[in-house]
């Protein structure tokens, strides 16, 4: 058993890594963090044990890159909230921007848990490892995050579509 060509890793997981970074960072930072994550992964790749879960490994790297970016930003004078997410004209082209904004507004732990379980499709055991918390805490954070998002969208002004089911738990 040996490692697949890295190019295939990019093909298989680029969308997931991008989604995860977008959940955690403003648009322009997200693209940079995703590229940084893949570059770091490429450098470390020959040392990865064959048979490892590559997606979980990539999401762990993306998690750390995103935290690095967030820490760098918080050390700067301007708070993240007042930075424009994307140029105003481009914002009109991104119909999903409301959900990204709502995701990024969640408390850190909830945001991470929702991103890693739902966007990266990782089981809670792995989410817990990446976040360095217990699996129970990971599940609770994800559930709390989803509940907040549902409430945000349930109270949306008319014109936004309503949730298609009434279930309370995801």
């Amino acid at each position: 058993m040996s490692l697949p060509p890295f190019d295939r890793v990019v093909t298989d997981h680029a969308a997931v890594v991008l989604r995860v970074c977008r959940a955690m960072l403003p648009h322009y930072d997200a693209e940079d963090a995703a590229a940084d994550a893949f570059l770091a992964a490429l450098e470390a790749y020959p040392r990865l044990r064959p048979g490892s879960d590559i997606r979980a490994w990539l999401v762990t790297i993306a998690h750390r890159k995103a935290i690095d970016v967030t820490r760098r930003r918080s050390r700067q004078a301007v708070p993240v909230e007042s930075l424009p997410d994307i140029p105003a004209t481009a914002q009109l082209d991104l119909p999903d921007e409301r959900l990204w904004t709502a995701l990024r507004a969640l408390p850190d732990k909830q945001r991470h848990a929702v991103a890693y379980h739902y966007l990266a499709d990782l089981p809670y055991a792995q989410v817990a490892m990446i976040m360095e918390i217990s699996e129970v805490a990971a599940r609770r954070n994800a559930a709390d995050g989803v509940r907040t998002l549902r409430n945000t969208f349930a109270s949306a002004p008319s014109g936004a579509s309503a949730p298609s089911s009434q279930e309370r738990t995801p």
Binding site: D7, L18, L39, L42, R98, Y118, L119, R150
Partner: protein, 201 residues
């Protein structure tokens, strides 16, 4: 399905333009950082889509479609390094020279080659073949004699069949003694096409 449900089903936020940009950015940065051990691209030719791959030392692999490009990349990952990335610009020269060759604007390739994928007797055979000129042909028996192993005709055939750099190293110019075309890694049609290309028109 609304946005939230798409999120919860994992189909949210996929954006092929962003993925392409990510790829381009990664390739650019990885090239600058010298992290790509094997760069590859594909080249459209009259003998099909060729996969071409290079290391910092030079062109290391040319593969026909029928060899299975995914399989070829898997083999390169094992034999050279898994740090393999599509990097079309790094192989621009190769693509251009192949285009020129097929357009009959070029008879000799002027590219550094990385010959690590063939060793021993096979490497000896391929070194000899590099000197067989455009438009000429030799027989498997000729080659066996020329490399000092006149009885190793079958081994010469195997060396040709396992040539990691077809088209560049002209194993297509090797025919059977009885004049029939013989085998070819790219298939008989490709071999005939290359021979016809090189014949004076």
């Amino acid at each position: 399905m609304n946005q939230l449900d798409r999120l919860l089903r994992g189909s949210f936020g996929a954006d092929s333009a962003a993925v392409e940009q990510l790829r381009a950015s990664l390739t650019r940065q990885a090239t600058s950082a010298g992290l790509i051990d094997v760069a590859f691209r594909t080249v459209d030719t009259p003998v099909g889509v060729l996969l071409v791959a290079s290391t910092p030392l030079g062109l290391v692999r040319v593969a026909y479609d029928r060899e299975g490009h995914d399989t070829v990349l898997d083999t390169l990952a094992q034999e050279i390094s898994p740090r393999i990335l599509s990097a079309p610009e790094q192989l621009d020269q190769v693509a251009r020279q192949l285009d020129d060759y097929f357009a009959r604007r070029r008879r000799h390739f002027d590219l550094p080659l990385d010959l690590r994928l063939s060793r021993g007797f096979r490497a000896t055979v391929l070194r000899f073949l590099s000197d067989v000129d455009y438009g000429r042909t030799v027989s498997y028996a000729d080659v066996a004699s020329a490399v000092g192993s006149p009885r190793a005709v079958r081994a010469v055939g195997t060396a040709c069949a396992t040539n990691p750099l077809p088209v560049l190293i002209p194993c297509h110019r090797v025919l059977r003694s009885d004049g029939t075309v013989g085998g070819y890694v790219g298939g008989p049609e490709a071999k005939r096409a290359l021979l016809a290309l090189e014949r004076p028109s």
